[in-house]
């Protein structure tokens, strides 16, 4: 029996913007989206950041984040128009009929309160159960979601459990009042790939066991394909395509959907190691001041001129620390860093200007890596001035050359970072690094904060620049798809150690060590039933082994 739970008709959402020097005015950020969701079904909302996914998801609770408000259309939940309701009506609906799972559970839990208190709060507030019933229900959910020690898990504070556990706890919090609909807003995006798969499986299992309907918001098509019955593809705040999951993945009708499905189309031929490596890291060991354990243990890797070494691993595996040690920001306690035939001094302060110039860095957060009060021209011009003493017209000429190289062009020279998109900001950071004419650039998760198609553009640009300038890239990432796309050599890091190292084909060819196997098999694949296959495979292995 298909019964409609949520019926969104011609939904329009507006926000007030305050551009500097202009009068505040309204802009429409969602232009008339319609869809329906049946009881117990899962609808995936997919699109790039800024496509209006979260905004549409939250509209099912009649909630607008920040200055956002619903400006037109109808949202019918269980047959009644919730947009016509009063504040008190909405409070009765939120946390009872519809609940929410946020992207960052770490931020969404109140740090001052125990988990149990927060998990059962909405259930108690809406009188859905007595305190003892609610607690029992929460413990059942903890168990169902695979949380450790479900009986006592709720006694802990948010900071005492891991990110993956918090995300599950938030799912328990959303399911505890037994709502009709749960809005999952990128619930696994902030997690490591090996954690994501377990959380994803737990969420899917919980959705099926409770029969709750869900809106599942994500930018990762491979993830949503595992949980959704239907998928709606959004772009620029409008619907591009809507259909059954199988149809969207196997027979997309729209060009944009096809681009999403076939993203990571980069072809990159692996280069062979040269006789003389550019960077030779030998037995590097490092720890942070005031701690008593090594975050890097005996790390040895090489990077050849004009090639790409990808360093992969989960958060906390020491990959960024390796970058800090190579740049001299964190002097290692043991080991040697050879670079271009010489030995780099461990302290950045002791390095020569050429040492500094030849080794540049690009960061994940392009926004905070640029001075917001400098123009693009000034940002890129700074290293030209500092390293080469360029001034005036000569400097401007070189800045324009670099802007052309990153495919932005002269018109960007007087813009401020705030006037750029995420991808454009990262391009400016790349130009700034290139301005120093480096031999090597360390790229620390440079595409992680970007949407897939934008990230793809950045990777293509980096590869093209590598061909032209012959620069070597040390590419730090947690994203294995990126690694496959661009690496010549790969180092897999786990708990401060390199557990697997070699050329790309060596590293990605079986037999694997346990960790690399876990890492590789955890990467979501755009294929129906992938999640079940992997989970079943792992269960069999653990039962057999």
């Amino acid at each position: 029996m298909a019964e409609t739970l949520l019926d969104v008709r011609n939904l329009k959402i507006a926000a007030t913007v305050y551009p500097p020097g202009e009068k505040p005015h309204d802009i429409e950020i969602v232009h008339g989206v319609s869809f329906t969701l049946e009881k117990g079904k899962v609808l995936g909302l997919i699109g790039e950041s800024g496509a209006g996914k979260s905004t549409i998801g939250l509209s099912s609770m009649a909630y607008g984040r920040g200055g956002v408000r619903i400006s037109g259309g109808q949202v019918l939940l269980n047959g009644r128009d919730i947009l016509a309701g009063s504040e008190a009506d909405l409070r009765g609906l939120r946390g009872r009929e519809v609940t929410y799972v946020a992207q960052s559970a770490a931020a969404a839990f109140n740090p001052a309160k125990r988990l149990m208190e927060q998990v059962i709060e909405a259930t108690l507030k809406h009188g859905r159960a007595s305190r003892s019933e609610a607690r029992a229900r929460a413990v059942r959910l903890f168990r169902k979601l695979g949380l450790p020690n479900p009986e006592t898990f709720g006694d802990r504070y948010p900071h005492q459990v891991s990110g993956g556990q918090l995300q599950r706890a938030m799912t328990a919090m959303a399911l505890c009042p037994e709502p009709d609909l749960v809005v999952f807003d990128e619930p696994t995006t902030a997690l490591d790939v090996t954690t994501q798969i377990d959380v994803l499986a737990a969420i899917k299992e919980a959705i099926h066991a409770t029969g709750v309907a869900a809106l599942y918001i994500t930018h990762d098509l491979a993830v949503v394909a595992q949980v959704a019955d239907h998928i709606m593809v959004l772009r620029n705040s409008a619907m591009v395509e809507y259909g059954e999951t199988r149809q969207i993945i196997e027979a997309p009708r729209e060009d944009y959907t096809r681009a999403l499905v076939s993203v990571r189309s980069i072809e990159h031929e692996e280069k062979r190691p040269t006789p003389e490596p550019l960077l030779k890291v030998e037995n590097l060991t490092a720890r942070y001041r005031g701690t008593d354990f090594d975050v890097l243990k005996n790390v040895s890797v090489e990077l050849h001129p004009g090639q790409t070494l990808a360093v992969v691993g989960e958060s906390g595996s020491g990959k960024s620390t390796l970058a800090r040690a190579i740049t001299g920001l964190l002097p290692p306690s043991a080991g040697r860093i050879g670079f271009a035939g010489r030995v780099l001094s461990p302290q950045m302060m002791d390095r020569t200007r050429d040492d500094l110039r030849e080794l540049q860095m690009i960061y994940q957060m392009a926004d905070v890596a640029m001075n917001p009060r400098h123009t693009v021209g000034k940002i890129i011009g700074r290293p030209l001035e500092f390293y080469f003493g360029l001034k005036g017209a000569a400097k401007r000429r070189r800045v324009i050359e670099l802007l052309d190289e990153i495919e932005l062009g002269e018109k960007f020279i007087d813009r401020y970072p705030a006037e750029l998109s995420g991808g454009q900001k990262q391009r400016v950071c790349i130009a700034r690094a290139l301005a120093a004419k480096p031999k090597m650039i360390i790229c620390d998760e440079v595409t992680s904060a970007l949407d897939p198609l934008v990230a793809d553009g950045i990777l293509k640009l980096l590869l093209a620049l590598q061909r032209i300038e012959g620069v070597a890239l040390l590419f730090i990432t947690h994203d294995l798809a990126t690694v496959r796309a661009i690496a010549d050599a790969i180092a897999v890091m786990y708990r401060g150690q390199v557990v697997r190292y070699g050329t790309k084909s060596e590293v990605l060819t079986p037999p694997f060590d346990d960790y690399t196997d876990l890492l590789l098999s955890s990467v979501p694949e755009l294929q129906l039933g992938w999640l079940e296959q992997v989970i079943a495979h792992r269960k069999m292995e653990s039962a057999g082994g």
């Binding site: 609770m61 909630y63 984040r65 909405l90 409070r91 009765g92 609906l93 939120r94 946390g95 009872r96 609940t99 929410y100 946020a102 960052s104 931020a107 969404a108 839990f109 109140n110 740090p111 001052a112 309160k113 927060q118 709060e121 909405a122 507030k125 809406h126 802990r156 504070y157 900071h159 005492q160």
Partner: protein, 319 residues
């Protein structure tokens, strides 16, 4: 293994004691730098050089300053603050009564001001940008801006002269009934409350508004909680540290900074006592008052930090 919080608290308390030691040294040094001579001030201008020399020897003034400092500090730790030069009274006894009076006044003001300030802060956040917020902010800002002596005289004019609800002079004496005392200190308490209310309320408002930006506040909204529940249950516990800090600063002010109000209402507290003896250049009393004020100030600030440490769940419940 000891709980890490014990170490943190021990560190903080040790730092407070160290600070107090430094303050005592500065007070002692400060009074030494002042021109003039204690023996001279006791005996007057007409004293003979022999008499001066004798008294100096008797008072130990010929010893090096460092020795005198430690003798003074050691005695103070045993509760002996010396004798006043002007009337030969034991300072500890004389000051004890005054300190008791000042603490009574401060406690009365604090009991009213602290809960009121926090409640007003919560209300201002609940109606942020709307008329209750603007009204509260405007009123408290104006009471903070008016000098306290002027507030005192206005209060006296309205409530003692025009309406005669309270006595205009806050004279209290031993053997007075508790409620009688309360009535007598009504006006100074009112003035003190008005002076400290604004600062505490505005900081409470700012601290909670800061927390209101957090993602967990959105979580609470999406659970369907009422706005005031969200502020009181979810925002306030995370804003305790900055609020306690500003509350303690104001409590310290109620003890240490009430000189003007005490003089206006002729209230027999520490402020009056200090002012009287500064005028008479009674150095031992000034030193003793300085030491007591420093102790109160450092003690309350230390307490603020201790509460802030205890209120932090990350420190209270380590991983």
């Amino acid at each position: 293994m000891t709980h890490p919080i014990v170490r943190l608290l021990t560190q903080r308390i040790a730092l407070g004691l160290l600070l107090l030691l430094a303050a005592s040294a500065m007070i002692f040094a400060g009074t030494q730098i002042l021109p003039g001579d204690v023996a001279q001030s006791i005996l007057g201008q007409s004293a003979t050089p022999e008499a001066l020399a004798n008294l100096r020897a008797e008072l130990g003034l010929n010893e090096p300053a460092i020795q005198r400092y430690f003798r003074w500090l050691g005695a103070a730790l045993h509760g002996d603050l010396g004798t006043a030069l002007t009337n030969g009274q034991d300072i500890a006894t004389a000051m004890g009564k005054r300190l008791g009076n000042t603490l009574f006044l401060a406690t009365c003001a604090a009991v009213i001001a602290v809960p009121t300030a926090i409640l007003l802060g919560l209300i201002a956040v609940r109606y942020e940008g709307r008329w209750p917020d603007k009204l509260i902010s405007g009123l408290t800002l104006s009471t903070v801006s008016v000098p306290e002596f002027l507030l005192g005289y206005i209060a006296m004019f309205l409530l003692a002269v025009k309406v005669a609800a309270f006595p205009s002079v806050a004279t209290i004496y031993e053997g007075m009934g508790f409620f009688e005392k309360l009535r007598v200190v009504g006006l100074p308490v009112l003035v003190l409350v008005l002076v400290v209310l604004g600062h505490m309320m505005r900081m409470t408002r700012a601290a909670i508004l800061n927390v209101m930006q957090s993602a967990y506040i959105e979580t609470a909204e999406l659970k369907g909680l009422r706005p005031f529940q969200i502020i009181a249950r979810h925002a306030f516990p995370n804003a305790i540290a900055p609020i306690v800090n500003v509350v303690m600063l104001n409590l310290a002010y109620l003890v240490v900074g009430v000189v003007v109000v005490e003089v206006v209402f002729i209230y027999p507290g520490m402020g009056q006592y200090l002012v009287d003896h500064v005028a008479k250049r009674d150095v031992p009393v000034v030193q003793a008052c300085g030491l007591v004020f420093a102790t109160v100030y450092i003690g309350l600030n230390m307490l603020a930090d201790v509460i802030a440490i205890l209120a932090n769940p990350r420190l209270r419940h380590p991983k």
